[in-house]
């Protein structure tokens, strides 16, 4: 296996939707009253649920209440879950219903239903960084346009904190639909199926939004690293 294959395999397993057997086991555990299993999904899913709830309601406090209400509804409705979707997709549907009715009571317009088209149709990378049509190698990187490796230490504490700030600011600046998709996919780890079905997007549109968002964020980190280069030295 080449290193490219190995890397791809890693990505695939991360983004895998293939959690049905694990899902069935989890549902059994919950139905038989396994509180540890319940505590574990509360811990794992609540951050994502808070983010989603916050799309419907106007304050963090309201969002917390929506999430708690959704968990209680899930506990009560567990016997009605038929396993046609993943448990998490089902949970998202419950959360959406509660969030919507709460949003209506708060007279807040629900952004999910009114997500307009993004204005950003731009390319992933500035066209000036590629050779022109008359070149010997058209549309390949120019020597100056070619990406340079980033410092090999993004996992180190200080760099990671700086990275995070860049990413948090970058996320905040993304058009809404891109931000929503990138946040649910990459920050909270939902699958493409979960995000598409929850947001009512086709698989292709979900990928386009993910692509634009990720491309922009990579560009932001690149600018940050490039600006830091002389300071960081070797």
């Amino acid at each position: 296996m080449s290193s490219a294959d190995a890397k791809r395999h890693r990505m695939r397993s991360r983004a895998s939707d293939d959690n049905q057997p694990a899902d069935a086991a989890l549902v059994d555990q919950l139905r038989t009253g396994d509180a540890a299993a319940f505590a574990q999904i509360v811990r794992a899913w609540s951050p994502m649920m808070l983010h989603v709830a916050r799309m419907y309601v106007s304050t963090d406090a309201s969002a917390q209440e929506v999430v708690q209400e959704a968990w209680l509804a899930m506990i009560q409705g567990l016997d009605k879950f038929e396993g046609r979707s993943s448990l998490r997709t089902w949970m998202l549907a419950i959360l959406g219903n509660i969030g919507r009715s709460r949003g209506v009571r708060e007279a807040r317009t629900v952004p999910l239903s009114s997500l307009g088209p993004d204005e950003d149709d731009g390319p992933a990378v500035d066209p000036d960084r590629f050779r022109g049509p008359g070149d010997r190698w058209p549309r390949n990187w120019t020597p100056l346009g070619k990406p340079r490796p980033w410092p090999r230490s993004p996992e180190e504490e200080i760099m990671a904190a700086e990275n995070r700030t860049q990413l948090e600011n970058g996320l905040a600046e993304l058009p809404e639909r891109q931000r929503t998709v990138v946040t649910l996919r990459d920050v909270h780890g939902l699958s493409s199926d979960e995000v598409s079905s929850f947001l009512g997007l086709s698989a292709g549109n979900q990928r386009v939004l993910l692509h634009r968002g990720r491309s922009r964020l990579r560009g932001r980190l690149e600018m940050y690293y490039a600006a830091g280069e002389p300071v960081m030295g070797t």
């Binding site: 009253g33 505590a39 983010h51 549309r139 990406p147 990275n163 948090e168 996320l171 920050v187 990928r207």
Partner: protein
């Protein structure tokens, strides 16, 4: 080099690779195109770095701190679960 039969990896240009990267990472390309992209990445340092940077960006996004429910709220939910579904809860 025969221009009509480009070697694997030379049929797509770098400018196309940067637009295909998400479909590639999502496993949404057909097998021929996947092979073509992988051949290109073997040949092209710039694109290989580019794709690795997208992966780094994704990994870093997974580490962005997120808000969650308070420990008390979580404990309360677990208590509610025990009350409603625990072994002693049902008749």
């Amino acid at each position: 080099m025969n221009a009509e039969q480009p070697t694997p990896g030379m049929a797509v240009h770098c400018q196309e690779i940067v637009e295909l990267v998400t479909d590639y990472l999502e496993g949404a390309l057909d097998p021929d195109m996947t092979a073509e992209v992988e051949a290109h990445l073997q040949l092209c340092d710039g694109c290989d770095i580019y794709v690795e940077q997208i992966r780094t960006t994704i990994r870093a996004l997974g580490k962005v701190p997120v808000a969650t429910l308070s420990e008390e709220a979580q404990a309360e939910l677990v208590r509610a679960f025990r009350d409603m579904r625990g072994p002693t809860a049902t008749a």
